[in-house]
Symmetry: C2
Subunit: 245 residues, 2 copies
């Protein structure tokens, strides 16, 4: 289970022209175990997006017990990537294809000036956000819907139907947190939800706009994609597997 501060990375997924979390994990494991390791992750988080729980698996011929990889990797990884837990998993376990319940948090600092101490994991919004309007709109997103209006264009999924189990909009001091739990998310879906709820919170869109957005099945119908820095993948559960983390 991999936690990272995504600020300095070009996202999770390995690519040729940028430093990625997957790239660092592959290199670190390959060097340590003296064999070529190719990891696979549950979520391909974007550049600047953070994680407290991305689930990463790999095959190896090594005899090191599964639970020791966390300690061994943490001694070798840069300080912005940490393994919170490691164990052996069934050979057929695919962290991306298996049934999951994922929870993302989108964090907003809503105040007159940006707080530099939390700037890398909170989006700064100086427009006053009306949390009651945002909560009302969030309710309309809960359930099983076709979320085509809330997916980035150009990335095709076999289906754009997803189930959102819960959305919480909470505020403590200047910090507003949108917590979304669902069975999976389309590309940029949580950031488009956050961007849409913020437009509703500012009063730029009506609080009852969501049902029409869903009906439109068109990306143009919803709000803007909120910046990556506010987003953190907080939890992944696999209902069909028993991992004791």
């Amino acid at each position: 289970m991999t936690a990272y501060d995504g600020t300095s990375y070009c996202g999770f997924q390995i690519q040729n022209n940028g430093i990625t979390i997957q790239g660092i994990l592959n290199e670190t494991l390959s060097e340590w175990l003296c064999e070529e390791i190719k990891t696979a992750g549950a979520s391909r988080t974007d550049a600047g997006v953070h994680s407290r729980c991305n689930v990463v698996v790999f095959d190896t011929g090594s005899k090191i017990p599964g639970e020791k990889y966390a300690f061994g990797l943490n001694a070798r990884l840069p300080e912005d990537i940490r393994i919170r837990y490691s164990c052996e998993v069934p050979l057929d376990f695919n962290p991306r294809a298996a049934k999951t319940v994922k929870t993302y948090c989108y964090r907003i600092q809503n105040g007159p000036f940006q707080d530099p101490i939390i700037r890398n994991n909170h989006y700064f919004c100086h427009w006053k956000l009306d949390i009651d309007r945002m909560r009302a709109a969030a309710k309309d997103l809960v359930g099983t819907h076709d979320f085509e209006s809330f997916a980035a264009v150009g990335r095709s999924s076999p289906t754009t139907i997803r189930t959102i189990y819960d959305i919480k909009v909470e505020k403590e001091g200047e910090i507003l947190t949108i917590t979304v739990t669902g069975d999976g998310f389309l590309y940029n879906m949580v950031r488009i939800i956050a961007g849409t709820l913020m437009e509703i919170g500012k009063g730029n869109l009506p609080a009852d706009a969501v049902p029409d957005m869903l009906k439109a099945k068109n990306r143009d119908a919803s709000g803007p994609t909120a910046p990556a820095c506010g987003l953190t993948l907080e939890r992944i559960e696999y209902p069909d597997y028993e991992f004791d983390y």
Copy 2:
């Protein structure tokens, strides 16, 4: 009122061989106002220590209204320094010499693995901390005492007597926060308090150790100096002045 993420700086106070917050403020103001500006700050925070409220003053011949400096500076400063508020102050106001009530927070992540997302403003401690022992010990620090045992050696103050109005030790999830409010602090005093309370929380020192430490008037009697990254200057109040921030 200056907020900063101290991670990349050699502390607040200007020095010849390192980038400091005061240095950046002096340079930025001097370039903007086309005159040499020398700022003075309320607190000379150490390298790696953060602030949400350091009060900084300067003299200028400029006709720019006091409240406009916040906006003008924020457009020119690096993103890890932000001015939250600016105003004209009486000519005799000295932010360091004036009577103050200061509040510092020391933040600890107490869990099995470091959370990389909050690593720059939380000290990571994997030893289990007993919050009840820490709270009991913190009570003995409240009041007017000679804090010589809780000051770094080699820095002389006219007196080592200070008043701590309140210390709160709170926990939410893995995050433990020590909030100390007082009329002023000796060099490293809050970090030594945090380091001592952590040793008591680990069980390495007795929960009733503080009175003897205070009596000893010797730095060797107290616990270690906790690392800088956990410390944030949260609030400065000037009871003799009325600033409406």
